[in-house]
Chain length 344, copies 3
């Protein structure tokens, strides 16, 4: 694609480009490349504050830049075409969409798939080899189910949702439209419910279900359990990374991002636009307010206020945690002085 | 089911019910519901200390209550039928069992399953679509194997054990009776055994096996490795939640509960009735005594005494940890005063 | 196998054996056994410093011993044949290789496998039941693919590589020779890339790929994501345990060992011969130097120097962490004295 054609396709996503001042820079672009290894003919992108450093050395023919006149001038001087926007990372994502076509499973039901007779299929579904779909399942239109997925009975799946290979969708799950379930994830599996008795554990059957609203993504090998009664629910456009555990009966709001290896125990309530960084753990029945943030490895045992930023184990305010972490490093010195002062 | 019929079926599990004082309350119950969304015709349950609050507002026609006369009277007054027991959560689990029938795979071997000729099948097995069972495997009676499960050679599986979809059972595993292996779990896979040498890692073949005694449950996507020689063993009625890792050669006792994302390194010994909360980690060769408890995210590097409760990283007694956690929050203030006292 | 035959086969791997001083000890060995349960006719091994204790009691007919004359004499006295080397654990691994033959899938393509017409197969491949291989995939010679594996399009797999059951290899992945991907792992799945906008998350398509060099092992249910552009790369002979997460764009060197449940966020750079113990977490874009070590549960937010040993959260030097951990235990006492000194 010629650079000028790219700018036309991106339209208002671009705030500025080299075409304004250097219209002779109009390379043919054959693909995207990371900045360190970009060859002539590619368009590249630089994450964060490192732009200046790489603009001077890259072999890319075009760059995505921030709204910084000096960096833009440097690119022009090196005869690199450039696009700029106030959020270059978003522009980068938009450029990728123009160059990259994700793998699309062929439409139709693969002859090796085992689909129960009463399953309702929407239009233009793509069901891969060795998929198994039990009775009572309803699929919307343009649903894609990659090979070796298993769907238990009475599941509902909305339009355009994609299930990647080897994932498992358990009984009564309801998936909204535009969801993506990545490889190996288990959705709607039995919650961990065992009641202690004098003679051992009594298993609590998990009669509830799991609901994912529209636009939810669940990472590879993540697990979202169902509760004994009622629902586990993940709100619209919330995104989970890999190896996340969501316990039975959790209620997660919309537009959250939950990073890899986070674990939520049973009955946790998470508000909207919450960010949980990697390996965070949340105890039973805790409530986490809207727009709050937990930094990585935080262990949350108490409610978190809306907008609060927490860190540490047990979780405290991020600011206080930064202070205590710095002082903990000085504890040996402090302890020596303290013992000395006791002797004095 | 009519309320009076339910009380008859539960028999001695109930310590008291509204029929004694308000026999006219005899609704027909069509199912279970969570307290917040319960409609007329359902029976509901309230976790923990929140009973009083919800009894006043729920639309449920029947409730499971604790042995608390005031709360029971309040329910009767609102014309809600009720059942009570000293352990209402156990009673709740018993009620669910009467209303909820888990999905049962049809009996027989699905024609798409690939079962080696010498595999021994017990009576009334249910083997789902696209299951693969290698040579030398023996299944007990009433075993259920959901679709896309793979069983490596020479595995033995006891009566009534259930394998959920997409799980993998490796060579020589022995599963007892009444086990449940949830979706995506990997049982008896190779332990992580690499010996460092001057020329790189030397792989230690894992010639041992993994044994799960009767009544063991393994959560979704959990992994239980086998050792180089001997056994990894999980004792009777021990329950593991999702995404748990059990290293090669671990010996876990009976009636333990191991929560999500716990990791045990190699050769760990765990006693009976031990509780490990979410994201706990245990180092190589550590011994954890009977009836001990580790709270969530604890990092255990040393042996734990029977009955001990530990927390923190490195693990210390839970009581001490609570104290230190409180003081850590005051460290900045303490540090200021300390620096001041140094100046004085 | 007779003991003398075993010593011949091991050759220079043995530094000493009981045949030198006690050639009459020449038992027939039928297998390996752990020391606690070893019966006559087996050869056994003792981990670490416990040799002396067990040599006096085991029923094993032969033992692998360290270069310790007293222990060797004790074994001879008890009429136990023995082999010794300066690294007994390595010798143990070599002995296992002589006794244990891992399960080998039969050569050929199972008739139930679905292999796209243009897939290139090397010599002597073994492709199990219900495997699915999409278009454009190239397999080297002697590749083994266990049942129910799914391979997305345009994947390349080197000679002798083994894929265990139910794992998923995503589009454009390149696996070197002699790799092992354990059950349920997901390689080359989409990185977690969502750009926040005023109207919600904008999905960044992940157009890059994942490359595993020769000799890499990936544990069960681990996940290795691909980046938006460029590569996620794991270097030669690096070994990952179970349930590890490697984020998009990570660059991991050679000969590393990464223990269970470790998580690396996006763009992390790890040098050669690095050891990350269980449940370590590493933040975005961090660089970890060659031969460095992070002890279990360490949370790494900043670069780690080559050869550095780090612990704690946030990560500090292991030595300092040991000191602070000891003092934290004394904080309650210190705090009491401190408050008292304030009153004085």
């Amino acid at each position: 694609m010629q650079f000028s054609e790219l700018t036309i396709q991106l339209g208002s996503a671009i705030a500025a480009s080299s075409l304004g001042t250097a219209s002779h820079l109009n390379p043919i672009l054959t693909g995207l490349a990371p900045i360190e290894t970009a060859a002539a003919g590619t368009i590249s992108y630089i994450e964060g504050d490192k732009f200046a450093k790489f603009v001077g050395s890259t072999a890319a023919s075009a760059l995505i830049l921030p709204m910084n006149a000096a960096i833009q001038a440097q690119a022009t001087e090196r005869e690199i075409a450039w696009l700029a926007a106030s959020e270059p990372r978003l522009l980068f994502a938009q450029v990728i969409k123009l160059f990259y076509q994700p793998f699309q499973l062929p439409l139709g039901v693969h002859p090796s798939a085992i689909v129960a007779p009463d399953v309702e299929l929407g239009k233009n579904v793509a069901i891969g080899a060795h998929v198994v779909i039990q009775a009572g399942v309803k699929l919307g239109s343009n649903v894609t189910i990659h090979p070796n997925v298993v769907i238990y009975p009475d599941v509902q799946i909305g339009d355009r949702t994609i299930l990647h290979a080897n994932c498992t969708i358990h009984e009564r799950v309801r998936l909204g439209a535009d969801c993506v379930i990545h490889s190996g994830a288990a959705i709607g599996s039995e919650g961990f419910g065992f009641v202690p008795t004098a003679t051992g554990w009594f298993k609590m059957e998990q009669a509830g279900c799991t609901v994912l609203e529209d636009g939810v993504e669940i990472g590879c090998n993540s697990t979202v359990d169902r509760p004994a009664v009622g629902e586990t629910r993940i709100g619209r456009d919330t995104k989970l990374d890999n190896l996340v555990h969501i316990g039975h009966g959790c209620q997660i709001g919309s537009n959250c991002a939950i990073a890899a290896q986070v674990g939520l125990a049973g009955g946790v309530k998470v508000g909207d636009r919450v960010l949980l960084a990697g390996q965070v753990g949340v105890a039973n029945q805790v409530t986490i307010g809207d727009r709050s943030i937990a930094t990585s490895k935080t262990g949350i045992h108490r409610n978190v206020e809306p907008g609060e930023i927490v860190s540490g184990y047990p979780a405290i305010s991020h600011k206080l945690w930064l202070k205590t972490a710095a002082i903990v490093n000085r504890l040996p010195e402090m302890y020596q002085l303290f013992k000395q002062s006791q002797r004095d």
